[in-house]
């Protein structure tokens, strides 16, 4: 058993080394996880997935009067730069007062991110594409630009995002688990959409790596809230139905994002992976998928954090490598219920298919409440999702 960094994974699976994993070796990344975890590829895969569903005439790909997907609109409008520069400019001109967020494709921890609200701020990316269309862009300089969600849900006047852990043991059939103890990361500074504060990363970026350098960073709670606190707060102030709907939608977008990359994923049976999903909720209680991390931080910033991450790793390994025995990659990857720990089954394709494929579509369509929300209760109802 080898817990690898992404670097090592690249080496192990690269064609040159010809390293083969034997049956009793299990690793914690899929070879081409970047299809999901690189910002540009994730968006590409989701766009492709949506188009495919549309072509098939699937009801999931239904659109409303404005051409927006009803069920699959969970990623903010995004373009790759410099490749889609012209498309981006067209979109930008449609709503010139909007703010956009620039993120380097290959970096993490909030590095290199900045906000823009004027085309002039990203001239660099246009010049390159105009003058040197034959020069291959090195992947390091590739950026994605997304419409900035400038109406995030605020609590106590502060912006926050959700970090949820999702374990995937196999992509085909898709089997994934959601860790019940996710958390919210709060900014230390009050949120303001004012343009004068666009440069203030403490207002806009929730990464702990950034926030912990803020003046008001508190080491006891680390600016983190449990998801159950969030749920209690939302149920108390907004009501149970909308809160359940929100959490159902969050589960939905996670599963859809995994389904989107499943066809292109190298479903190596030696692999499993624990992703860190970043989700932002806007003030209309709509969740947005911001990105997926392949190496979510396993260091801890507070005492509670340490306990959470310890349990996370423990439960992850219990599912990936049952009974603490020498792993055999041929096993059917169906762990018994008892070892799930704080994980709950998010989606099990085999089980879902057993119930009949059209149940999935029917139940998704008819609802605005979604399937019985019992699953997301933190006290551990393990009701399978019905889609």
């Amino acid at each position: 058993f080898y817990w690898m960094s992404v670097q090592t994974i690249r080496n192990v699976f690269s064609v040159e080394t010809g390293y083969r994993l034997s049956d009793d070796q299990i690793v914690n990344h899929f070879p081409n996880h970047y299809e999901l975890t690189r910002k540009d590829l994730m968006v590409k895969n989701i766009k492709r997935y949506r188009k495919e569903l549309e072509k098939e005439g699937s009801p999931l790909a239904e659109k409303d009067e404005n051409g927006k997907y009803l069920y699959l609109d969970f990623v903010p409008v995004t373009y790759m730069l410099p490749a889609d520069y012209n498309l981006f400019v067209e979109e930008f001109r449609k709503s010139p007062s909007s703010t956009w967020i620039m993120k380097p494709c290959g970096k993490a921890q909030g590095k290199g991110i900045f906000l823009i609200n004027k085309l002039s701020q990203i001239k660099k990316w246009s010049r390159d594409s105009k003058t040197s269309s034959f020069v291959t862009q090195s992947t390091k300089e590739a950026y994605v630009i997304s419409l900035y969600i400038n109406n995030p849900l605020l609590i106590g006047g502060r912006k926050f995002d959700l970090r949820l852990y999702v374990l995937v043991s196999t992509y085909r059939p898709l089997r994934c688990y959601m860790y019940k103890l996710g958390f919210c990361r709060f900014c230390t500074v009050k949120y303001t959409p004012s343009t004068s504060e666009l440069d203030n990363m403490f207002v806009h970026l929730t990464n702990v790596a950034i926030q912990k350098h803020g003046e008001d960073y508190n080491h006891i709670h680390g600016g983190k809230w449990t998801v159950s606190n969030l749920r209690l707060y939302l149920e108390s102030t907004r009501g149970k139905e909308v809160t359940s709907k929100l959490f159902d939608e969050i589960h939905w977008i996670i599963v859809q994002s995994l389904k989107a990359v499943a066809p292109v994923m190298n479903n190596d049976k030696h692999c499993f992976e624990c992703y860190g999903y970043d989700i932002i909720i806007d003030d209309k209680l709509k969740p947005w998928l911001i990105e997926v991390n392949a190496s979510p931080s396993l260091t801890s910033s507070t005492a509670n954090d340490r306990i959470l991450k310890y349990n996370l790793i423990n439960d992850t390994l219990n599912i990936a490598v049952p009974n603490g025995e020498i792993p055999d990659c041929k096993w059917n990857k169906s762990p018994p219920k008892e070892v799930l720990g704080n994980y709950e089954i998010l989606y099990d394709e085999e089980l879902a298919q057993g119930d009949g494929a059209d149940r999935e579509l029917r139940s998704r369509q008819g609802q605005s409440q979604g399937p019985k929300g019992g699953r997301s209760r933190d006290s551990g109802r393990t009701v399978l999702t019905t889609w």
Binding site: G156, V189, D216, W225, N229, L232, S236, G380
Partner: protein, 443 residues
């Protein structure tokens, strides 16, 4: 009339001297730091504060020289020394001797009486906090209970709500139910009144403001659940200290508002003012009374009204000396009596090792468990405070916690070790604990 505030003379006297002590402490802090009790803010400062109204937490005034006026343990010492001069204890020990810290003869309920009083918490009645757990199908209790709750709200029946909430409130209905029980309306006058208080805050600076700041920074800002709401706490508490309508509750509070005199006119009644304007001097942990309410109300004036009402109905009893059954003295005595009567071995053991149980549980009760329990559990507890219109449940819960951890407590040999066993209550589920203690323990 004095007897309406508190019938027993010796209690009134004790409260009076406690108040003198607090005021003296406040005044000396004032003199030491050369800060006036109150001052008008210059216009520039007013503007600045108005701009920062929603993020006062980012202000970092130098608070290092301020100390809380008192902490719960100071108050406990006063209560321990309370004596009824008309009561002859006798030197001989007997079965009726009370071995706890509180040595005043007040009547407290025993378990049979508590069972009657809290009958709706019994084993055969459905409860939120127990019967809504995941193993129990919602059709058995939860769904029906929610339906009844919605009906109560639709009828706007305050008395029915109070009866209903004895079995706990569904999270989605709680904010409205509490408002109904506390008779809080959303009248425009209330909003105006709050705005008026806000203006007072902007225009004048009070010494107690710094005490409030310090308290929030020491307690709520470091709390895993409540740090998010720091700014709301300032908005509520600063207005609260200027709210003279709160003075009304002193008619039935054994305490009296502290008086101060305009400079230079010491002793002249015409120049006496209540200080702070609402007559309530905050102590260490005071802001924790407000913090849990932030989970229910995010509109400042509503949050304010709810807190004010909770204070003048319940919380004031937790830091004034009186003989009222929900007063802190009675609660302490109730706690100790329950422990001594029903867990005598544990009580005796702890006493022997110098760990009088009240020394540990006092702070829980003074804060109504805020900051010690997980928020969802705390709210279920406060549901019952509203439902039974009594704080006695705090003492019962404190005893139940000791009962729950009795095995570990029997093994400790020092006060510090006992504190450690009881340091973390965040995983406790209050309703099962209460139910077991009251209804399922062999007495």
């Amino acid at each position: 009339p004095e007897h309406l505030k508190e019938p027993l003379v010796y209690m009134r006297k004790a409260q009076g001297s406690w108040e003198k002590r607090i005021l003296k402490s406040l005044n000396s802090m004032c003199t030491e730091l050369s800060i006036p009790l109150a001052r008008k803010r210059p216009v520039g400062e007013q503007k600045e504060l108005l701009n920062k109204w929603n993020e006062m937490g980012t202000d970092e005034p130098d608070l290092s020289l301020f100390r809380p006026v008192y902490a719960p343990k100071d108050f406990l010492e006063v209560l321990i020394n309370l004596r009824n001069p008309n009561y002859e204890n006798g030197d001989s020990l007997s079965f009726r001797t009370h071995l706890g810290l509180i040595q005043v003869p007040l009547k407290v309920k025993d378990i049979p009486e508590l069972k009657e009083f809290f009958v709706e918490l019994g084993l055969t009645t459905g409860q939120l906090g127990i019967d809504d757990s995941t193993q129990v199908p919602p059709e058995l209790f939860e769904n029906e209970h929610v339906r009844i709750g919605q009906k109560v709200l639709a009828e706007q029946d305050s008395a029915a709500a109070q009866q209903y909430i004895r079995q706990g409130s569904p999270t989605a209905l709680r904010a409205e139910l509490w408002a109904l029980i506390l008779n809080i309306s959303s009248q425009p006058e209330e909003l105006l009144y709050y705005e008026q208080l806000k203006t007072n805050v902007i225009q004048h600076d009070l010494l107690v403001d710094s005490l409030i700041y310090k308290d929030v920074k020491l307690t709520a800002s470091n709390d895993d659940y409540y740090f998010v709401f720091e700014d709301y706490l300032y908005q509520v508490l600063l207005c609260f200290s200027r709210d003279t309508s709160v003075l009304g509750h002193f008619a039935y509070n054994s305490a009296s508002p502290p008086k101060s005199y305009i400079r230079g006119k010491l002793g002249l009644e015409e120049y006496a003012v209540f200080y702070p304007p609402n007559g309530v001097i905050p102590f260490h942990g005071f802001s924790m009374y407000v913090a849990p309410l932030c989970f229910l109300y995010h509109e400042p004036s509503k949050l304010y009204q709810i807190f004010r009402e909770m204070y003048v109905r319940f919380f004031f009893r937790l830091h004034s000396i009186s003989s009222h059954p929900s007063g802190i003295v009675s609660l302490c005595l109730l706690f100790e009596t329950l422990l001594q009567t029903y867990l005598p071995q544990l009580f005796y053991h702890l006493r022997e090792i110098g760990a009088q149980p009240l020394r540990i549980s006092f702070k829980w009760m003074v804060r109504a468990f805020s900051g010690y329990l997980a928020t969802d559990q705390l709210l279920l507890l406060w549901d019952r405070i509203l439902g039974y219109n009594s704080l006695e449940i705090l003492a019962v819960l404190a005893a139940a916690v000791f009962a729950f951890r009795a095995v570990n407590l029997m093994e400790v040999t020092s006060l510090a070790a006992a504190e450690a066993v009881l340091a973390d209550l965040s995983t406790l589920k209050v309703m099962p604990l209460l139910q077991i203690f009251l209804f399922a323990t062999v007495t």
